[in-house]
């Protein structure tokens, strides 16, 4: 798996959340709902925690940086797949964006404790597989896989 592609095969349950940009008051709601759903499905606590962290960081990134986007979660028999898509503005330098401590967050976001430059690195750390594709002016797509057994 090297390119971003949604794998629609064998999806037991699909969750979809639209995330508006700049809506700090609701940031974290989607990831909280995802966590609640996974707990109800009796998925292992450590897996729930990894998905919760990955989706939270994705959600915050959409709020801070994107022109709006969505998060989809595919629950499968052997793994959970997380798809994050937005409508821009796109990332100029992905290697730089993936560097711990690098952030383009505004001062307002930083004063709130966001913009530590840990979002994308945290997402990658929580995933067994991580793909990011971005095009300036078009948008960013991220796929993360969290496997039940590694």
């Amino acid at each position: 798996m090297n390119t971003y592609e949604k794998d629609q095969k064998n999806v037991a349950l699909k969750l979809h959340y639209d995330i508006a940009n700049d809506d700090f008051s609701r940031a974290g709601e989607a990831s909280s709902k995802i966590k609640k759903m996974l707990k109800q499905l009796a998925i292992d606590a450590n897996i729930v925690r990894r998905v919760a962290i990955a989706t939270y960081e994705a959600e915050i990134n959409l709020v801070i940086h994107s022109n709006g986007g969505n998060i989809e979660v595919f629950i499968k028999s052997d793994c959970i797949e997380i798809y994050v898509e937005d409508c821009g503005p796109g990332i100029e330098n992905i290697d730089l964006a993936m560097t711990k401590g690098f952030s383009t967050a505004t001062n307002v976001a930083r004063e709130m404790g966001f913009g530590a430059g840990m979002g994308l690195p945290n997402m990658e750390k929580m995933s067994d597989a991580f793909i990011i594709e971005s095009e300036l002016g078009a948008g960013t797509n991220i796929k993360m896989i969290v496997r039940y057994e590694t």
């Binding site: 008051s25 974290g28 925690r49 962290i53 939270y56 709130m112 404790g113 966001f114 840990m118 750390k125």
Partner: protein, 110 residues
């Protein structure tokens, strides 16, 4: 130690949430939310000067025991209301982070 001990023995004020019987096994202090997301453990008492409502998502996603707002900082009503909705325990105290650490250490959080 339990959240109740901070309230009853050490005068911390509970401004939201209900679960005082929650055990505290870890303590962490940081105001960068992604940093806390990366490092925070379950059953943590988290000390932060951030008082906006996004701290609640962090605490609830990571199963923290409570959030401690130090140095007498006041908390927005919106945050308190949301914390009640999500049943997140928010505590306030005039103490500084180091004094809070000392209490938790002496109570057996090591």
């Amino acid at each position: 130690m339990l959240v109740r001990d901070l309230i009853e023995k050490h005068g911390f004020i509970k401004i939201s949430g209900s679960d005082q019987e929650r055990e505290i096994l870890n303590v962490y202090s940081c105001d960068l939310l992604s940093w806390v997301m990366a490092k925070g453990k379950h059953d943590t008492a988290w000390i932060t000067v951030q008082t906006h409502s996004n701290i609640l998502a962090v605490a609830s996603l990571l199963d923290f025991s409570c959030i401690i707002i130090p140095e007498g900082i006041s908390v927005e009503k919106e945050t308190v209301n949301k914390a009640d909705e999500q049943d997140v325990v928010l505590l306030t105290t005039p103490l500084e982070a180091y004094e809070i650490f000392k209490i938790l250490y002496e109570e057996g959080v090591k």
